[in-house]
């Protein structure tokens, strides 16, 4: 399969790839799998009854990664895909997902990804998902990723979910279940500009004794864009949970942050921090006193904030 320059541009933005990596990979373009390789430890197969893939990582697999990016370049396409990841016991794996949409037309392009992730006992997983949109068409670039993750006993999972730019509309529900002595960290970084709208709804149920979870959200809303961030941490047993949402607001943007803590056990320790504010004048002056112009100082602050 040959990739054109647009494909590489999108792939580079969401996965930082500039050539096909060795190992397990599945690239879906405009509703079809155009590249698929399994590896000895990672099997990728299709669902029979619905579009999408099952990625199975064998127990004890160490230091391997699997790439599963999605590209949408046919304007007006609405792609819905179901992906299931099963990380075997004691495996240690990185999953690089994400989606890039290029839309040059007046019709909306949309990608709805429904991801189910199971991190088995003692396994470690890092999941990186970046969303990016580009193109000059008036048609919207829409992403609606739904994620359901279950981290079993002693498992460790980190989800890094990033919306880089160019996404007009997104609704991002994430539901997580954390088992005994398991740990889950969800890092969300979001940038909206123009008239874009983003809604993120995260719910984490800490079910297992000694479980720990945290949600770290950083977002920037510029121009007239709007963001809603809901994060609920439900502690059902002796556990630790923390929600942190930090936002920079600019122009005439609107941000609503709703952290929610629910303790269903007296041994649950749950905390939250939420802050929304504009760039502090003293930060700008500090960077300008090092020789940066005001726009350069703003870019430096925003880039660092979302890093």
């Amino acid at each position: 399969m040959k990739f054109n320059s647009l494909d590489w541009e999108l792939l580079g933005a969401i996965t930082e790839l500039n050539e096909l990596p060795k190992g397990a990979i599945n690239i879906r373009k405009d509703g079809e799998a155009i590249v698929r390789n399994s590896s000895p430890n990672i099997t990728i197969s299709s669902f029979i009854d619905k579009p999408g893939i099952i990625v199975e990582i064998k127990p004890e697999t160490k230091d391997e990664s699997v790439h599963v990016p999605v590209l949408l370049t046919n304007s007006g396409l609405k792609d819905k895909v179901y992906n299931t990841f099963i990380v075997g016991e004691n495996a240690d794996i990185t999953i690089i997902a994400g989606c890039g949409i290029h839309n040059e037309s007046h019709a909306d392009s949309a990608h709805d990804g429904i991801h189910e992730i199971i991190v088995k006992k003692g396994a470690r997983m890092k999941y990186i998902e970046k969303h990016y949109g580009q193109g000059k068409g008036k048609g919207k670039r829409i992403f609606n990723p739904t994620t359901i993750i279950r981290v079993e006993e002693d498992g460790v999972a980190e989800l890094e979910m990033v919306q880089i730019e160019g996404v007009d509309d997104t609704i991002r529900p994430t539901t997580a279940y954390v088992g005994k002595k398991a740990s889950l960290t969800i890092v969300e970084r979001l940038l909206t500009h123009g008239e874009q709208k983003a809604e993120s709804d995260v719910k984490i149920y800490i079910e297992g004794e000694g479980g720990a979870a945290q949600i770290l959200s950083r977002s920037i809303a510029r121009d007239t864009s709007e963001q809603v961030f809901r994060a609920a941490m439900i502690g059902q047993t002796e556990c630790l949970g923390h929600v942190e949402c930090d936002s920079i607001i600019m122009g005439n943007a609107k941000i609503k942050a709703v952290p929610e803590l629910v303790a269903e056990s007296a041994d649950a320790v749950l905390t939250h921090e939420a802050a929304i504010g504009k760039i502090a004048g003293e930060q700008l002056i500090k960077l300008m006193s090092l020789g940066l112009t005001e726009p350069e100082a703003i870019d430096t602050i925003l880039e660092g904030f979302l890093r």
Binding site: R218, D246, A280, E282, Q283, I285, K286, L287, M288, S289, L290, G291, L292, T293, E294, A297, T300, I301, E303, G304, F305, L306, R307
Partner: protein, 248 residues
């Protein structure tokens, strides 16, 4: 040479105008270390911020090497060679110590960056990758702020109360680092705003600022007796006030 000519600064505070600086005239000569001291609220930091372009004076002009820089903004003055270590440096979530030093001087070599961090008493292995967010203490932020000015090797370096928020042991180290950096550059001018009785005698000239005006200027031995007198007078007044309170 940096020259402040007839600088006056008035600010609007809740509808009331307040004079902060009144007809300040000073020249800072290359190769000299200046100490600016005086009571709190006297106008020391306002002078520094006016030099840096953060405050715009109502009247007067500022000249750098005889070029009028009064209309230049903060970034333009920085590019002309003025550096300022803030009294309370701001924090930046997501930017690291290394990022800040590289912004301060984009061509800085790693070895020099590491040395500067060591010079201010921090371990480069531990600190270069640290986030400039709430994880750093006020004292650590202060040391990094000073390191950032030292890396710039600017023609005019202003340090605003380097001792504030820093432990006694570190103050000596910071002052030593500032002196070492300054001594290797004969064309440079360093200005330290300080209340520290051990730092002031090291300066070539001391400028005393009170109520927005320069009340004394001269070599440490010339000005020192005035400062001591003022300190003693203040102490006596405080004691008298306390005694009166007790009697009442």
């Amino acid at each position: 040479m940096l020259r402040l000519e007839n600088i006056s600064l008035t600010v609007n505070n809740n509808g009331e105008s307040k004079d902060i600086l009144n007809n300040i005239n000073i020249s800072f000569v290359p190769g000299k270390l200046y100490g600016i001291t005086g009571p709190n609220g006297g106008g020391k930091t306002s002078i520094a911020k006016t030099i840096m372009g953060i405050f715009k004076p109502n009247t007067g002009s500022i000249y750098l090497n005889e070029e009028d820089i009064s209309d230049l903004d903060v970034a333009e003055r920085a590019k002309k060679g003025i550096a300022y270590a803030f009294q309370q440096p701001p924090r930046f979530k997501g930017l690291t110590v290394e990022d800040l030093l590289k912004i301060a001087r984009p061509d800085i070599e790693t070895m020099e960056m590491r040395k500067t961090i060591r010079d201010v008493g921090l371990c480069p292995e531990d600190y270069l990758a640290r986030d400039l967010g709430p994880g750093l203490s006020g004292g650590e932020m202060k040391r990094i702020e000073i390191a950032q000015v030292l890396t710039r090797n600017a023609e005019i370096s202003i340090f605003d109360e380097p001792e504030a928020g820093v432990d006694l042991w570190t103050i000596q180290r910071l002052i030593f680092a500032i002196m070492q950096n300054f001594k290797t550059r004969p064309d440079a001018t360093a200005i330290i705003i300080t209340h520290n009785e051990n730092v002031l005698p090291l300066c070539d000239e001391i400028i005393v600022v009170e109520d927005g005006e320069i009340s004394a200027i001269g070599k440490p031995d010339e000005v020192w007796s005035l400062i001591r007198e003022e300190i003693e007078c203040q102490r006596r007044n405080e004691c008298r006030g306390e005694m009166l309170n007790e009697i009442q």
